[in-house]
């Protein structure tokens, strides 16, 4: 397993990237719907620590952390938000459609739960090709309400596919709390168990716990024991979509927000770091990387409108 300082550093990097996106969003140059992962970095970093370049990842509308943690290029991410030619999809997809094939980050998509079957299909390919790699689907707890999730999990278990399901339960779907969407006595873990998946429920803000669980899950999957579903309890700090805090709207209990902010995954990790760990130096280096990414993105050209007809068909 990677040392905590590594995991922390990665979380910090993702946090700083997203905070800079938030800071600059009001300049109105990143003109696309943008869902920040701030508060949920431990899941992405912990899970990715168990993955190699050969393992493939699919994600949802809230994908920045998954993309960066898997090794996606920060320059291409920022350029994508700016809609530039140098973006990871050349401006075609925006924040909700990320891709970095060099990093094994296949795709994120904007329709709730609809990338889960794709990930399972990738696992099917791995199984028939006998590759020894695993496929990962990240999704929110809201996505577990979709039939697509259920059908996908059923098939993955049926075929014992090399598949890791990672559910980030941040308790909300946009402004809607769990109690208007899921029965009070329903547990995602129990559901997955009933379907026959192996399961791990854990504190998604504890990066070490996530990393350990992901490693354990991967080992089990590669031993042919079938898919694993990890339910990671976590929380997003800011509004559902966009750069701001929106707790003045009152859809989340004040106490709940406060408690979760105290359990910020970075804060939880920080207190465990060795005293020799120098945060400032790291921040400086990350900040310069980020500054450069934004400068490059701003300076880059828009893709040419003449290419709009390209790639309709392969």
């Amino acid at each position: 397993m990677k040392p905590l300082s590594d995991l922390y550093q990665q979380m910090l990097r993702i946090r700083l990237v997203e905070e800079e996106i938030a800071n600059r969003y009001s300049e109105q140059k990143m003109r696309c719907p943008t869902h920040l992962s701030i508060g949920q970095e431990a899941v992405a970093v912990g899970v990715s620590s168990a993955l190699t370049i050969d393992d493939k990842v699919y994600s949802s509308h809230r994908a920045h952390a998954h993309y960066l943690a898997k090794g996606g290029s920060v320059n291409k991410l920022i350029a994508e938000l700016y809609g530039k030619k140098t973006g990871c999809t050349g401006g075609r997809g925006g924040s909700m459609h990320l891709c970095d094939l060099d990093a094994g980050f296949m795709a994120s998509t904007a329709i709730v739960a609809n990338s889960i079957p794709l990930a399972v299909g990738h696992a099917l390919h791995f199984q028939t090709q006998n590759t020894g790699a695993i496929s990962v689907a990240y999704f929110g707890e809201g996505a577990t309400e979709e039939g697509a999730f259920y059908e996908s999990l059923n098939f993955a278990v049926l075929k014992s596919l090399p598949m890791l399901f990672v559910c980030e339960n941040n308790r909300y779907s946009v402004y809607s709390s769990l109690d208007v969407r899921q029965p009070s006595n329903r547990s995602i873990i129990d559901l997955a168990k009933a379907i026959g998946a192996n399961t791990i429920e854990l504190d998604g803000n504890d990066v070490v716990a996530v990393a350990e669980a992901a490693n354990e899950a991967k080992t089990s999957i590669l031993q042919g024991k079938g898919p694993v579903l990890m339910e990671c309890h976590t929380y997003r700090h800011r509004e559902h979509c966009g750069p701001n805090y929106d707790d003045e709207l009152g859809y989340r209990p004040k106490q709940e927000v406060e408690d979760w902010l105290k359990r910020d995954p970075l804060v939880l990790a920080e207190v465990q770091l060795p005293s020799t760990f120098s945060k400032d130096k790291i921040i400086a280096s990350i900040s310069s990387e980020i500054g450069q990414a934004f400068s490059l993105a701003e300076a880059a050209e828009f893709p040419s409108i003449d290419q709009n007809y390209e790639y309709l068909y392969a």
Binding site: Q28, C32, T89, G91, V112, A113, S176, F302
Partner: protein
Amino acid sequence: MLETANFADEINRAQHQSMQMDSSMLSFGLGIDDPKGIFGTTSGLAKAFGSERVFDMPTAENAMTGIGIGAAIAGSRVLMTHQRLDFFLLAMDQLVNNAAKWHYMFNGMMKVPITIRLIIGRGWGQGPTHAQNLQAWFAHVPGLKVVVPSRTENVAQQLHQAIMDDNPVLFIEHRWLHQQSCHTESIVSLEQPLEHTQIVREGKNITVVANSYMLLEALRAAEHLAELGIDCEVIDTACLHQINWSVLHSSIEKTGHLLVCDSARKEFSCGAEILANLSENCFGHFNRAPVRLGLPDYPEPTSYGLTKDFYPCAQAIACKISELLGSKKSLEAHSPLEQSGHHDVPGSWFKGPF
């Protein structure tokens, strides 16, 4: 001073009125009772009518559509709202195999009074999966009604009558219309019979057919062309399931020219049907070949840099018309129509993030 009303508020008003008039009515959809009230269109409903009648739902578009249909069959009147049409693709089985066919295949014994509001996104990086208008799909399926509003004056009337209709109705709202306003004076009463196909502007040189946001562009183009001596007749085909063909036929007989503006992909579209029908039925009345405008045959890209000409605007319409009529006016003649500000927002009030 005249008071003004806006499109979103009118949609809201129609829902309040309908729920008041029919105590069996239920209304649900993702985020329907949330603080933003679906761009303001559903604000206050849950408070006024209680959480039994107005409620949020699980992210489960397919079954929830079926549940709405079932409640409607049972005797409730149902309104369902989707923040994007694209999400509703999950529910095509329920829509087509159940709602559309129910009254017919059970020999008139049951009816399905459900209205489904579908909002179309555009611009600000909505991108490939948040900006689709599949009106042509719905119009193709027997048993569905499809209403695509454009104007603040009659949107409340249209929605109210859709809700009160005992058939499944798709009500397709373009997101860019929500802030449109009109004088309250000009608002049509909720009960006034619908005009399915309406001449919005009379003219004698060319018939321009449009709906949804495209109608506003067509009207802007028509105002401008009038100054250049081209007199456009603009017709709103808001009700795609029941186009009043005689209105269109008479118009062609008068003008001899046709431009159909589609608010979706140009090919295999509602525009194709309109052009086909008029070609079949007005043969001999055309002075020149009819033409179409519509979206290109690729998805809406996300980048600001790529969407510039994705949606035909008033200027494109004006150019197409003068080209069709063989007018010598150059592109520059239509430059007054050029959009000021950013092309990917309906106005400066729009600041994202979605």
